[in-house]
């Protein structure tokens, strides 16, 4: 491994990126810690606060081939007012769509505090020619995206061409201009926690404002140990450079319970300062309904049926 790194490394040595140290991961310890953080019992007023926060940090996502402008408009309406029957539900953080639909979302959310996020850069594989990817990013920003979610070039990363992966992220950051850059690591394809840690550091040093777990397009998505592994990388980064990078967890987060487990993991690892939409996001499509169901269960004491909530 260190041989490969020696052949082509980003600025720094085998266990560092650009002078920032990469801490090795104790996989067993990591999984145990993540599991223990997921046993926290969150009840009554804490649960209400957790549900509220989960909505505030949510990136309401639709990334389907079948997305239509109308569907995105409907999603934007929900984003601003998630529960049509309850004004007290706060808006979500952002709506996340494909670039072609950014103008639609930007128009629908012009008067709204909800940000427009766009995937770009050859999502989900990231294997379009670099010029094309950069052009896509610039296009999305010009069309009104406040945040851009790009993917790490796993092909380059997994074959040890770290410099290439690094340079591409740096170039994407340039192309983003004022927009926030989130880098999707697609942790399910990286193979080990050490690789996830290394990819996290590489993305952060290369200029990512957020690091994000998954595209949601493969089977393995965000898991508690993955979230913890990345949160610890962010903590390392913050301690060594003073730069606060955000964390976005996405893929497979469907229930309110999962959401507050992640809130606990981030809160315990990075501190309460990270539990804001500026530094933490949950990317999800079906999570919002479950959170709203839990919310109304807390309010009315009655279990709800899923059909009473929106399908999208």
């Amino acid at each position: 491994m260190s041989d490969l790194l020696a052949v082509e490394t980003p600025p720094g040595s085998a266990d560092a990126v650009g002078g920032v140290r990469i801490t090795p991961v104790d996989a067993v310890g990591l999984e145990q810690r993540a599991a223990s953080l997921c046993t926290r019992s969150i009840k009554t007023s804490s649960k209400a606060a957790a549900l509220e926060l989960a909505i505030q940090v949510m990136d309401l996502t639709t990334l389907e081939g079948a997305d239509t402008p109308e569907r995105v408009q409907a999603l934007c309406a929900r984003a601003g007012r998630p529960d049509a029957t309850d004004w007290t539900v706060p808006p979500v953080a952002a709506v996340c769509v494909y670039p072609e639909l950014v103008p639609v979302a930007a128009e629908a959310l012009a008067e709204s505090p909800v940000a427009v996020a766009s995937v770009a850069g050859g999502f989900p594989a990231g294997l379009a020619p670099l010029e094309v990817r950069l052009a896509e990013i610039a296009w999305a920003v010009a069309a009104g995206a406040d945040e851009v979610d790009i993917v790490l070039n796993r092909s380059a990363f997994l074959s040890g061409r770290y410099q290439k992966a690094y340079d591409e992220i740096a170039a994407a950051k340039q192309a983003c201009g004022p927009a926030h850059l989130k880098v999707i690591l697609e942790t399910g394809e990286l193979g080990s926690y050490d690789q996830i840690r290394r990819a996290s550091m590489l993305a952060m040093v290369a200029g990512a404002d957020f690091i994000k777990t998954s595209t949601g397009k493969i089977g393995t998505s965000a898991t508690p140990p993955t979230a913890l592994c990345m949160a610890e990388a962010i903590r390392d980064m913050s301690e060594q450079t003073g730069r606060a990078v955000g964390l976005k967890l996405a893929g497979g987060i469907r229930t309110a319970k999962q959401a507050w487990h992640y809130l606990v993991i981030v809160g315990e690892t990075l501190g309460l300062g990270w539990l804001t939409p500026e530094r933490f996001r949950l990317g999800a499509s079906s999570l919002l309904n479950d959170v709203l169901m839990q919310r109304s269960k807390l309010r009315d004491g009655r279990y709800q049926r899923r059909e009473d909530f929106s399908f999208d």
């Binding site: 004491g301 009655r302 279990y303 709800q304 049926r305 899923r306 059909e307 009473d308």
Partner: protein, 291 residues
């Protein structure tokens, strides 16, 4: 020769096709004839109710979507498995019952199996009998068809333990409903043995869930659950019945209870196609008639 220790069965709840302890981790003692301890049954909680309803909800569309003939085949298989475990059911009824004789227990078991087969036979017939063509004053075909109402919560009667349970469960699921059953609080063990026969037959996961525990704790969350479409409160006492009906009204849930005639469990009056209809909605279709 060494003395053999008996291997006692853990009577777990049947939720979404799996035998599970309660989320709450609790259990309660079940006593039989002469206050003798039979076993500790799971003392379910409202979260077990929630999980069972979620399982029933997700199984309902697939179960109703099967052909009536296929549902009949699957339910007949349940009767076959019950028959092969007749002695076990009989012993279970005998242990739980109120000083029933062996002959009475055997009779109850046989009657319960026969009742299951009787309802199984209705699977592909009830729609013909209960639905039909309506004569209307216009150039239309007008058809009424009974369709399953959805998820049904069943509060099973207390005693005797087996035949009332079968009499209330079979007519609910034969039409394509899925059921969440609260077993008798006093005699829950035979219900779990019935769950084992369901698990061994080809009944899809979630079509029937059977919970055990205290009625006062389990009925309100079941009755108030928004995803439950109908309730059979035959096993509720008067107080609980009124409260459950109020809870059910808040989410517009149909409430059914066995009539006095239907409570003659072993009698033929306890079985009727109208009981299948009680858990169906009538869909009426108008279709223009050509010349």
């Amino acid at each position: 020769m060494s003395i053999r220790l008996s291997v006692n069965k853990t009577y777990k709840q049947f939720i979404g096709g799996a035998f599970e302890r309660s989320e709450s981790g609790r259990s309660y003692p079940v006593v039989g004839v002469g206050d003798q301890l039979l076993a500790h049954a799971v003392q379910g909680s409202r979260k077990d109710v929630r999980d069972a309803v979620a399982a029933a909800r997700s199984a309902q569309e697939g179960w109703a979507g099967r052909t009536a003939y296929n549902r009949g085949q699957i339910l007949y298989r349940v009767a076959e498995v019950m028959e092969s475990r007749k002695d076990e059911f009989c012993a279970e009824v005998l242990r739980a019952g109120d000083g029933q004789t062996e002959a009475a227990a055997a009779e109850e078991t046989a009657a319960a199996i026969d009742r299951w087969v009787w309802y199984t036979g209705w699977a592909d017939k009830f729609a013909t009998v209960l639905g039909g063509v309506n004569p209307v004053a216009g150039p239309y075909f007008n058809l009424s068809v009974p369709e399953p109402t959805g998820v049904v919560g069943i509060v099973a009667p207390d005693e005797p333990p087996l035949i009332p349970l079968v009499s209330r469960l079979a007519p609910v699921i034969v039409s394509g409903n899925t059921a969440v059953v609260l077993a008798s609080e006093r005699c829950p063990l035979v219900a779990i043995t019935l769950a084992e026969t369901l698990a061994l037959s080809d009944v899809p996961s979630g079509v029937v869930s059977i919970l055990t525990g205290h009625r006062g704790e389990l009925v309100p969350p079941l009755a108030g659950h928004g995803a439950v479409d109908a309730l059979d409160l035959t096993g509720c006492d008067a107080d609980l019945d009124a409260d459950a009906a109020r809870q059910a009204a808040a989410t517009i849930t149909r409430v059914v209870s066995a009539s006095a005639a239907e409570r003659q469990w072993a009698h033929e009056a306890a079985q009727s196609p109208y009981l299948i209809d009680a858990f169906c909605e009538t869909k009426t279709v108008w279709h223009p008639k050509g010349r």
